[in-house]
């Protein structure tokens, strides 16, 4: 595509020849890889009359050529994957601590397995998050400040702490003497941090401007926690670790509770999102809708299977597979629902209009509502 249009001075899409002018503007540092396909590469063409961005039949609910009012989340696949990995790690740390504290030596195998799941999860999660960064080499900037208003900031500290603690406890707890005791202690720390680790990602989504996430602000944490527990239990069905029957039962029971919470929370999330019809739409339609439905079916099937009597290894493996797939599908469903939701200006507008009108806030009174001519 690069042709003679690009003279010497315009390679960077600015038409400032650095040989002649000083590139010192605030935006001059912006890196541009290609001008052949400019960023963001837009393909949108409005096919109707420009004034039909405002058609009479929709005059009460105008949009600007149907263009999104919000920016779509820029995150890639690694972020929903991290939701799964981090959540699972957090649940593992919690279960490890509970087993350590209350089960003693008898549950040593479970504790150890959980600690390693948490440790690997913490490390992999960090890697996944760094991968998503626009400037991965600056991942340490996450720890420059602590900002309580930012779930991302809180979460980064939690992840940093949890990843270290889980790794520490996994490495140390097999040692003898002081190191071992320290490992156990760090295991409790890991559990304390693992709790928010499985849940903060839901807060991170709920506390954004994206309508569907925002609508499910209260139920999303329950959903994510449920999925984390379910994901952990399902993972054990797949991992080649030898657990005692008691340990297996503990995991299964823990998992069953998670799956039940998961399924219940899904219903609540749907309910909350559907309070404004357009806001809940991504959970019903499109890729996100399909993933959402699949997640429910997979988790439900996994739950049903795990509740069946019997201890066959294969049964556990299948249930684990279904549960893992369900947990992953759910994270991706929520993630894509957010992307779709951000693209839909009506979701934003209707949600805000309905909130202002049911709260009867001063804003609602302040804003004009009719068409321009009537107000």
């Amino acid at each position: 595509m690069k042709d003679e249009r690009d003279g010497d001075g315009d390679r960077d899409g600015r038409h400032v020849d650095p040989g002649l002018g000083l590139l010192a503007g605030e935006g001059a540092q912006q890196r541009i890889d290609t001008t052949a396909e400019a960023f963001p590469s837009r393909t949108f063409v409005w096919r109707d009359l420009p004034s039909h961005s405002f058609p009479p039949e929709e005059a009460d609910e105008p949009t600007y050529y149907g263009r999104p009012v919000l920016k779509e989340p820029v995150w890639v696949w690694s972020v929903p994957t991290y939701f799964y990995v981090g959540g699972t790690a957090g649940a593992a740390a919690v279960l490890a601590a509970a087993a350590q504290a209350l089960g003693g030596e008898e549950l040593h195998g479970l504790v150890k397995a959980c600690r390693w799941v948490a440790a690997v999860g913490g490390a992999a999660g960090s890697a996944l998050l760094v991968y998503d960064l626009g400037r991965p080499e600056r991942f340490l900037h996450m720890l420059r400040v602590i900002r309580p208003t930012s779930a991302m900031s809180v979460g980064s500290w939690v992840l940093a702490g949890a990843a270290s603690a889980t790794m520490g406890s996994a490495l140390l707890s097999d040692q003898h003497g002081f190191a071992g005791r320290l490992g156990h202690f760090v295991g409790y720390v890991a559990a304390l941090l693992g709790m928010p680790l499985s849940g903060y990602t839901a807060v991170l989504l709920g506390n954004t401007a994206v309508p569907v996430w925002k609508a499910a602000q209260r139920s999303l944490p329950h959903l994510f926690i449920g999925t984390s527990v379910s994901g952990l239990a399902s993972l054990f069905g797949l991992l080649p670790v030898d657990l005692t029957p008691r340990e297996e039962t503990i995991v299964e029971r823990f998992g069953a509770v998670g799956k039940v919470v998961d399924l219940a929370a899904m219903a609540v999330v749907e309910h909350e999102a559907n309070e404004v019809e357009t806001v809940g739409r991504p959970l019903r339609t499109g890729i996100s809708g399909a993933l959402w439905t699949a997640a429910r079916a997979l988790t439900g099937a996994s739950l049903a299977l795990s509740l069946l009597p019997g201890r066959r290894r294969a049964k556990r493996a299948v249930a684990g597979l279904l549960g893992t797939a369900g947990a992953l599908a759910l994270r991706f469903a929520v993630f894509h629902a957010g992307k779709t939701s951000a693209r839909d200006p009506r979701a934003t507008f209707r949600q805000q209009r309905s909130i202002s009108s049911c709260h009867g806030s001063s804003v609602a009174a302040h804003l004009p509502t009719g068409t321009g001519s009537e107000s």
Binding site: H15, A38, L49
Partner: protein, 863 residues
């Protein structure tokens, strides 16, 4: 105005915020309309009918400013008994000369006087050699009751009597109530207490009757008393920076700096004869010899003496019409050797791009000075006819020289704006690489030519050798001093080089030199007056210390008219310039445009000569009679009063007269310049108008290469109404192909209510809007609109008709190779033609009347 002059439009918004009413009359609803109080859609090409309707409204309703009209305009003057109006001759004025295809203006004269115009058409290729500015006044007869049937006022009244609101609706498609609203608003906001202003741009000028558009507005403003008064006037908004400057110090072929006429070979055989034919005995132009001598002294310095006629004889003479389109057709006929394009891109910006290229193909050499290699510079390898294989680059003999040029930020110089305000700009950075200013190029070209001919004894080279060419240069790139040029333009005393203070200091004895008399004073006291930038809040509201306005730093011309005949302001509210009885001189907020100590009561005696003939109550000092001309007894080629004629290619028959088009218009009847039917051409049923967008600069040379501007309007598009879109299956954001007899182009489609269909004579007329910025080069590209437009021109100033023509539109893209008429096939003709543009008496306009060579223009070219 908001579209094309957004910076100037700030003052319109300022006025609006202070309560002014903003009316916008335009075929389209533009960014100006978006903030106007009233938007009136009008059929492109029908403005004279619209303005004529308002003139009738003003006269019939007795809404004119009577004292102003009686004293300051020629409304009371009586016209020759021989004069016949278009009402009498079905669209022709008296004096049509069938043989020459032109008017003889003798019958338009004042009764008993011979008077030339202050400006306007001074060509006399048809008439006998006589003074083009008139020789006497005082012989005129007046009827101050305005009742005499032959007085200008009554002629005007009769002339526009049929321009009723009903007719305006029929011709312009303007609903009656909107028209009446405009007319009433203008009347209500004019008079002693209030004034109204008109702003126009090329939407008015680029018609085969363009000059008369402006004349109609002038008549209206004179009737309403809105000239020479604060808040009044007619603002010509220019196409780009310093277009005003390029007529003051002209790039035009027929005038010299300061609106001195170019000498003609047939008549101006000696300097004395030139003065005799171009000077006047009355009014300000009686000073003409001083300006002419000073100009020659500036050019030739010591070599110009009284004895050798100031070297007048070494000036080239005009042999005929050398206007743009005439020259281009002559070029296509192989009559032109070389062509300089300085910052102009005619294959995109001028009419009929294919014919422009056909002309360039016949040149020996072409010099292009521009920021980038434009379509005009690359005409030999990047053109539709080359893509079609009709023309092969290797067979084009033209040698093309491309010179990269400096931008305005890279050189010193001045801009002259529409208010005649000169504003200096300083160089901010050195031009990069080989880029150089026009001044640099021209100076060094002249210097080298002088060196080349230094030893020549050929008489024809002596003018070049005598030329003063001694500007100081500086810097690494040897840039001549722009200030030194300004100093020469300002004028100086030959003896000591002292700058003159103003044009009244100029002499006709060779003791002063001046490059342009109207710019005298711009370098007053040896200081660059145009560089003054005193902020508005530190001086009076007229801001006389910001830049410098010609003439004599006057911000408003003819401002004597802001006071009544006794010299008192018409009203306190509109006080501007007045006679100070105690000081015995004119004073006011501005520099009075009058002889400073001439009292309002002054009346010239019978034997008065020169500027002594200007009476104390005659504000229009440049006119021989000191009056505003409602009726132009001379100076225009197409009639003393504006008349509604249809464009060359129209969608409607002329509702008013049997004469369809302006009889005086310039036509080029050639195989490579075919015209559509005068009206109702079934092949080309839609009305097209062209225009510019805020985001681009004319032919795009300054904007299409710049990404920040290009992204704002990235593609060529056409604007059509939803109704037309439905009719032709056009979709918003889709493609359309537009066709005329000249060429075809494609464009993206923007369907919008902003370009409404109009009802004309019971039919619905669809208009298509075409911004014309794109070409085949640059960062963003598209077909060039002006390919569609043929050569037709106004007879007074040879301006093209590009704002109203007909075309066809179809959905979809054009074929890969696009037809152009110069080398491609003609559009199939129509059987018979029962529609005539002209009355039988107008007959065949003789070919070549405007051309260089009669024989060659008739041949056409390439079969």
């Amino acid at each position: 105005m908001a579209e094309c002059h957004p910076v100037g439009f700030r003052w319109v918004m300022e006025a609006k915020s202070r309560g002014a009413m903003v009316i916008h009359v335009d075929p389209r609803f533009t960014r100006t309309s978006a903030v106007a109080d009233l938007h009136v859609p009008i059929r492109a090409g029908s403005d004279i009918a619209f303005l004529g309707g308002i003139i009738r409204y003003v006269i019939e309703g007795e809404r004119y400013f009577r004292d102003y009209v009686v004293h300051y305009t020629n409304a009371p003057a009586l016209i020759c008994e021989d004069f016949r109006d278009t009402e009498d001759l079905d669209g022709l004025f008296s004096g049509w000369n069938e043989k020459d295809g032109q008017y003889d203006p003798t019958s338009w004269a004042y009764e008993g006087a011979d008077l030339g115009p202050a400006a306007g058409n001074r060509e006399s290729f048809t008439g006998q050699p006589h003074s083009e500015r008139g020789t006497q006044s005082g012989g005129e007869r007046f009827d101050c009751t305005l009742q005499h049937p032959r007085c200008v006022f009554q002629i005007l009244k009769r002339h526009f009597s049929r321009y009723t609101p009903e007719l305006v609706e029929e011709v312009c498609g303007v609903p009656r109530h909107l028209f009446l609203k405009v007319a009433e608003a203008l009347c209500a906001n004019s008079g002693p207490e209030r004034t109204s202003a008109f702003c126009y741009a090329v939407g008015w000028t680029q018609h085969s009757t363009g000059v008369q558009y402006i004349r109609t507005a002038s008549i209206l403003q004179l009737l309403l008393g809105n000239i020479g008064r604060p808040g009044g006037g007619i603002m010509a908004l220019r196409g780009h920076a310093s277009i005003q400057g390029s007529t003051d110090i002209p790039t035009l072929y027929d005038i010299l700096p300061g609106y001195l006429p170019m000498p003609k070979d047939k008549h101006d055989t000696s300097f004395e004869r030139y003065l005799e034919l171009n000077g006047t005995t009355t009014g300000w132009w009686s000073e003409f010899p001083k300006y002419a001598v000073s100009l020659l002294k500036a050019w030739f310095g010591a070599a110009a003496t009284k004895e050798n006629g100031w070297l007048f004889d070494s000036l080239p003479r005009l042999s005929g019409d050398h206007s743009h389109m005439t020259t281009v057709t002559a070029m296509a006929d192989g009559e032109v050797k070389g062509y300089f394009l300085m910052g102009e891109n005619p294959t995109v910006g001028s009419m009929h791009g294919a014919l422009q290229r056909a002309g360039m193909r016949k040149l020996d050499w072409l010099v292009v000075r521009d920021f980038a290699v434009t379509e005009s510079a690359d005409f030999w390898r990047d053109a539709p006819e080359i893509e079609r294989g009709e023309v092969r680059p290797e067979e084009i003999p033209t040698e093309v020289f491309f010179f990269p040029c400096a931008a305005h930020t890279e050189k010193d110089g001045s801009f002259t704006n529409t208010q005649r305000l000169l504003q200096w700009h300083h160089k901010a950075v050195e031009p990069p690489g080989d880029c150089r200013s026009e001044l640099h190029f021209t100076y060094h070209l002249g210097r080298r030519l002088k060196e080349l001919y230094a030893s020549s004894t050929d008489p024809r080279d002596q003018a070049l050798l005598a030329l003063t060419w001694d500007y100081p240069v500086s810097g690494e790139i040897v840039e001549p001093s722009a200030e030194a040029v300004l100093k020469e333009i300002n004028g100086f005393k030959v003896a000591d080089g002292e700058p003159v203070g103003q044009f009244t200091d100029l002499k006709d004895d060779g003791s002063t030199a001046c490059g342009c008399w109207i710019y005298s004073g711009s370098y007053k006291d040896g200081a660059n007056q145009t560089a003054r930038r005193k902020p508005g809040h530190e001086q009076s509201w007229v801001a006389l210390e910001w830049g410098w306005a010609w003439p004599a730093n006057r911000r408003m011309l003819y401002n004597r008219a802001s006071a009544d005949p006794e010299g008192k302001p018409w009203s306190e509210r509109k006080r501007y310039v007045w006679w100070d009885e105690e000081e015995k001189k004119w004073t006011g907020h501005d520099v009075p445009d009058f002889i400073a100590e001439r009292p309002p009561s002054y009346r010239p005696g019978k034997d008065a000569q020169g500027i002594d003939t200007i009476a104390g109550h005659h504000p229009f000092v440049m006119q021989g009679d000191g009056l505003g001309w409602i009726f132009t007894p001379s100076g225009l080629a197409d009639g003393p009063l504006p008349t509604h004629y249809e464009p060359q290619e129209s969608v409607a028959e002329n509702s008013l007269y049997g004469q369809q088009c302006n009889p005086g218009r310039m036509e080029w009847k050639r195989r490579d310049n075919p015209y559509h039917r005068p009206w109702d051409d079934p092949r080309f049923p839609y009305l097209v108008t062209t225009y510019r967008l805020t985001e681009h600069h004319t032919a795009g040379g300054m904007s299409r290469w710049l990404s920040w501007l290009s992204e704002l309007q990235p593609e060529m598009f056409c604007e059509v109404s939803p109704e037309l879109a439905r009719e032709k299956g056009l979709t918003n954001g889709g493609w359309a192909t537009l066709t005329t007899a000249r060429a075809e182009i494609e464009a993206r489609v923007l369907v919008t209510e902003r370009i409404p269909p109009l009802r004309i004579r019971g039919r619905t007329i669809q208009q298509i809007g075409l911004p014309y910025h794109w070409g085949s080069k640059g960062r963003v590209r598209g077909d060039a609109v002006n390919e569609l437009i043929g050569f037709v021109a106004d007879p007074n100033v040879s301006i093209q008709e590009s704002k109203a023509l007909t075309a066809n539109i179809e959905a979809g893209r054009r074929g890969r190779d696009r037809r152009v008429v110069t080398s491609g096939p003609l559009v199939p003709g129509l059987p018979g033609n029962d529609r005539e543009r002209d009355l039988p008496v107008v007959g065949q306009k003789p070919m070549g009347a405007h051309g260089i060579s009669e024989s060659r223009t008739q041949q056409g070219e390439e079969g």
